[in-house]
């Protein structure tokens, strides 16, 4: 459990970090280390250079930016989980973050690290997709913004180039929406077998808008758009939601592994979607 030797840098600014990434072709960014360190120790990854971005204070924190909430890439899960702005405008993120690993992991691991890592079973990519977040990426040619639907490209694969850094994530405000995160796993600290992130805006007793994201139902998180469309205008009752949720697995291609085959995952997606939407609507 000793990593292969590497050279280590700890830049203080984004520009310095970008310079190092440009200079070294075989470099890896180190954020909270909760995914990268195990990979290094198991020698599954053996970069020649580590660029540790812990010291870049600019990347940490949550701020209000008009109609969006901006979460710095290096904001630890523990901050996101308890941040008042997140609670008010994007409660779904707080709920999902609270299910990540255990308190030690949530103090070390970061919001941006989890998104950049892009594990299909992780909890934050699915809420980012559900909430239509956009990703601000800094690179040699300046900054660009990528929507969630394009950021996640496959298992452990994102729109980030090797010489780029994820700096912050912009989340539209969902003030007043109901939210619920259903994570189905075998043990409390286990990864999702399937997860469903739901946010619902009610108009009186009926659903005015809905966002439903599915985790681990394919190589990237997906929006259950058929369910979202079917929910609009419906009363938030068990029957109506059940009917809409039946379409949750439409168009998905989940993996089969020791925790369940694809059929089981599709079935779980419908059950969990129903539960998540009802809970988000406060009618569970």
């Amino acid at each position: 459990m000793i990593p292969v030797a590497f050279e280590y840098f700890a830049p203080a600014t984004v520009d310095e970090a970008l310079g190092l990434l440009r200079e070294h072709s075989d470099a890896k960014v180190l954020a909270g280390g909760q995914s990268l360190m195990p990979a290094l120790r198991l020698r599954l990854a053996a970069p020649e250079v580590i660029v540790d971005i812990q010291k870049i204070d600019d990347l940490r924190g949550v701020r209000d930016d008009g109609d969006a909430l901006v979460i710095g890439a290096m904001t630890p899960h523990s901050t996101v989980e308890s941040d008042p702005l997140v609670a008010e405008h994007a409660r779904l993120i707080a709920l999902a973050t609270a299910t990540v690993g255990d308190p030690q992991i949530r103090h070390r691991g970061t919001f941006g690290g989890s998104l950049a890592h892009a594990d299909p079973a992780a909890d934050l990519p699915v809420v980012a997709v559900a909430l239509d977040a956009s990703f601000v990426i800094a690179g040699p040619d300046g900054r660009r913004t990528v929507p969630a639907s394009e950021f996640f490209q496959g298992v452990f694969s994102t729109a980030l180039g090797e010489d780029e850094l994820l700096v912050e994530v912009r989340v539209p405000k969902y003030t007043g929406w109901g939210a619920h995160y259903e994570k189905f796993n075998r043990v409390a600290q286990g990864w999702s077998i399937v997860s469903v992130a739901a946010a619902v805006r009610l108009d009186g007793d009926s659903i005015a808008e809905a966002r439903v994201g599915l985790g681990n139902m394919g190589s990237t998180p997906v929006r259950a758009t058929a369910v979202e469309a079917a929910l609009v205008g419906q009363p938030a009752t068990a029957d109506a939601v059940r009917e809409a949720a039946a379409r949750a697995a439409d168009g998905t291609s989940p993996v089969s592994d020791i925790n369940g085959d694809a059929d089981y995952r599709r079935h779980l997606a419908t059950v969990l979607t129903r539960r998540a939407v009802l809970a988000a609507a406060g009618t569970a």
Binding site: M1, I2, V4, A5, L42, R43, F184, R186, V187, A188, Q189, G190, W191, I193, I258, N259, G260, D261, Y264, H267, L268, V271, L272
Partner: protein
């Protein structure tokens, strides 16, 4: 003195906080990996990625040239030096086994087998160089599936010619302990009940917290070997026997050891190789396994197929039980691999009076990590089979699961009872334990709730699982072990030394690795010698100090080792008597020993043990008629096993939509005889239940089609943590054992044995109305859901 006033009236029975915990919990102690010696070198192992292969060549040149490397050693280099690893238990005289090398020479038989080692100045350099060792393999087809292996479809060790190591059986008709089981089954087919089931005991990994670690210092006159082991005394003997080193030149120390669960009841390849590395280089060497190596290469547990047939009368009175089991040895035989199924063979009849019994065991090799003892070792398997069957029988007869057990169990007035498998149960009271468990659990209320949920078609169904058990503890009478083919004995040794300042050193041959012997043995001796609990120091695990001993496993430590401690303490009291008589100028017959003091009957005159110890130290006033020493040694061989028992009840909520199981409540009433320290007993029960639940719900070692361990990290090998387990409600009844002087029985494995069937019975009970009669372990949500779907589609096709 106020301190004295706060003391418990007797130490035995007091929930003393464990003396050893502060250092164990903080880790500020001598874990083997914490040991650093001048000039210490580090070892990294190169392991086979293939389950079955021939080694065609090894190129170690690049590794030898790497920075910091002292030596690279391959199997060919030490083929003659390494000897073969021992199996200590031939269950039949012509048991077959492949030669078990510490380092493969030309043939590898499981993924994870060591093929080379690198010795370097630092651990990092050793790791880096290990990656440079270039091994060429010619892959062979691996024998992986146990039943196919039993049919010799693919041979794990081509040289052996067969995968079958041994076939063993016990038959009550042949042994004169009961009737003919085939006749009982035939009779039951005609108007009675015959239940045939097949159960899978999945492969488990002991997953102790502290990985195995070894440090060897060859520069001392006695070579010193520190090892994170349960069995330092075994390791000493086997280093001598396997490597041809005089036993008197070896000292083995098990310092603080972080758990074992049977997984460190082994003499390991890594121990042999670290000794060889140190001997060859003449310098201290350390090897500490990584977690990945530990999961892959430390021995695994369970892994059996059990085919069981239960015959009963229409009223549910069992008339016979037949068991045919296939046990996976894995690639080699470890110390007692071959005997694990045998240790279960006497327990399939559980707490019941069966008139006829037969068991057949087939031990089979595969190309997987070798198996061996894991908490319970044979007895959880047996208890699982019979307790699952009793629930199926209750369902068939249409009576309550507790009722069916009561119809068959041994009544408390029937003890001592000779069982159909040939054991003699000395004591027990199953009625009392069950009645208490039933009440604590709120059994009738839960049954009422269950009915309601069934009637309303609640998607979350409630299931109630029952498990009773007894187990043979206190391993073991040496005569019995000898008669079963084991090479060693089952005695234990202890010494008690009175120090001049009134303190007491107790030396025990048991080797605690989390069980709290330092505390419990202190309580035993404090009571017996009338000294303060704090004044007793318990020493263990170092063969230079604990010279004789047979270590810790099989719930033996208190029932055998603790009784040896008491025997030694009794000798100290005896030895002190003539000395006290002499110093008190009294007749020995007029002395009474009580409260740690010899007093002259009818007078105030007397001397405490501390005063006597000091007088003996000075020796000034001794006249030489008695030996001037109070210290004593004692070896104790138990007369028989002890038989703890208990009733465990589990309520689960099964979400039929997702297959998820939630344990709602868990109640157990254990009868472990006399309790020395209730807190320690509680801890053992809690940990045991957790591990048994883990078998029922979470754990399984899985290999892919090529024989690679898929569950090779804790990411994949699912261990439960506190949030995944309910609050356990534990209670006890106390029926003293009659086979030892204190009436203790043993508690190390009880929870593990009872909880697995309790949980699975509860799941099946929840789903029985849906047509489910079994769920294979571990009962993951996916498996539970699949079982529901399967029976739903069967119901569908039937209607």
């Amino acid at each position: 003195m106020t301190a004295t006033e706060e003391r418990p009236a007797t130490e035995i029975g007091a929930s003393r906080r464990r003396k050893e915990d502060a250092r164990l919990i903080t880790g500020r102690t001598r874990w083997t990996d914490n040991i650093v010696l001048p000039g210490l070198q580090h070892i990294a192992m190169v392991r086979s990625p293939f389950a079955h292969a021939r080694i065609t060549s090894i190129d170690a040149e690049a590794a030898k040239a790497a920075s910091g490397v002292v030596a690279v050693i391959t199997g060919a280099d030490i083929a003659d030096e390494q000897g073969a690893l021992p199996n200590a238990w031939a269950i039949i005289p012509d048991q077959k086994a492949p030669v078990h090398p510490s380092m493969a020479v030309d043939h590898v038989a499981f993924a994870g087998e060591i093929v080379a080692m690198v010795i370097a100045r630092t651990a990092a350099e050793a790791n880096d160089a290990a990656d440079l060792v270039d091994v060429d393999y010619e892959e062979l087809e691996p024998a992986l599936e146990l039943k196919a292996a039993a049919r010799d479809e693919v041979i794990a060790h081509p040289d052996l010619g067969t995968n079958v190591s041994a076939v063993w059986s016990y038959d009550s008709a042949e042994s004169g302990t009961g009737g003919d089981v085939e006749a009982a089954i035939a009779a039951a087919r005609d108007g009675g009940i015959v239940i045939e089931e097949e159960f899978r005991q999945q492969r488990l990994i002991p997953a102790f917290m502290e990985p195995r670690s070894i440090v060897v210092d060859p520069t001392t006159e006695q070579m010193t070997v520190w090892s994170a082991t349960q069995v330092p005394h075994f390791v000493k003997i086997f280093i001598a026997l396997v490597l041809g080193i005089p036993e008197s030149k070896v000292r083995v120390i098990a310092p603080d050891v972080g758990g074992g669960f049977g997984g460190k009841l082994q003499f390991t390849p890594e121990e042999v190789l670290t000794v060889i590395a140190a001997r060859r280089t003449g310098k201290p060497c350390k090897y500490t396994e990584t977690r990945s190596e530990s999961l892959m290469a430390a021995h695994h547990g369970r892994d059996q197929w059990q085919q069981v047939t239960l015959a009963a009368n229409a009223d549910g009175t069992v008339t016979g039980l037949k068991v045919e089991l296939i046990a996976d040895m894995g690639a080699y035989l470890g110390l007692v691999t071959s005997a694990i199924p045998l240790l279960g063979a006497f327990m399939y009849n559980g707490i019941y009076k069966f008139p006829a019994y037969h068991i057949g065991i087939t031990n089979v090799f595969t190309n997987k990590t070798w198996t061996d003892a894991y908490r319970g070792a044979g007895r959880p398997e047996a208890t699982y089979a019979i307790e699952r069957l009793m629930d199926e029988l209750a369902a068939r007869v249409g009576v309550d699961a507790l009722e069916i057990r009561e119809r068959n169990w041994i009544k408390h007035e029937e003890f001592p009872f000779s069982t159909v498998s040939g054991l003699r149960y000395d004591s027990g009271n199953y009625e009392a334990a069950t009645a208490k468990a039933r009440e604590l659990f709120g059994y009738d209320d839960l049954r009422a709730e269950q009915r309601k949920r069934r009637e309303s078609g609640d998607p979350v169904q409630l299931g109630i699982g029952v498990s009773t058990f007894t187990e043979m503890c206190g391993l073991a009478p040496s005569r019995w072990l000898g008669s079963m083919g084991y090479v060693g004995g089952g005695w234990e040794h202890a010494a008690v030394r009175m120090l001049p300042t009134g303190k007491v050193e107790v030396v025990t041959g048991t080797s605690p690795h989390g069980q709290g012997h330092e505390t419990a043995w202190s309580q035993l001796v404090a009571d017996r010698l009338g000294v303060a609990f704090e004044d007793v120091e318990v020493l263990h695990g170092d063969t230079q100090v604990a010279v004789r001993g047979l270590d810790t496993y099989g719930s033996r430590s208190l029932a055998v080792g603790g009784m040896a401690v008491l025997a030694a303490a009794d000798k100290v009291i005896e030895k002190a008597k003539p000395i006290a008589a002499q110093l008190l100028e009294a007749n020995a017959d007029d002395l009474d020993f009580s409260g740690g003091r010899y007093g002259v009957r009818g007078t105030d005159a007397g001397m405490t043990m501390a005063e006597l110890a000091f007088a003996v130290f000075q020796g000034h006033k001794l006249d030489g008629s008695a030996e001037g020493c109070l210290d004593a040694d004692a070896t104790l061989d138990p007369d028989d096993f002890s038989f703890p028992h208990g009733t465990h009840l589990c309520a689960v909520e099964v979400d039929t939509e997702t297959g998820a199981t939630k344990i709602r409540s868990y109640v157990c009433v254990d009868d472990v005889g006399v309790v020395v320290n209730p807190m320690i007993v509680e801890g053992q029960v809690h940990g045991g239940i957790a591990q048994g639940i883990a078998q029922a719900l979470f754990e399984e070692a899985l290999h892919d089609d090529s024989g690679t361990l898929v569950t090779g990290s804790f990411d994949q090998y699912t261990l439960p943590a506190a949030p995944d387990l309910p609050t356990f409600e534990t209670a006890r009844t106390e029926t003293p054992a009659t086979t030892n002087q204190l009436g203790v029985k043993g508690v190390g494995e009880a929870g593990t044995i009872a909880s697995t069937p309790a949980v699975v019975n509860a799941i099946v009970d929840a789903l029985r109305p849906l047509g489910v009669t079994d769920v294979p372990m571990p009962c993951t949500p996916y498996r539970v859901w699949t079982a529901i779907q399967k029976s739903a589609s069967q119901e569908g096709s039937r209607s």
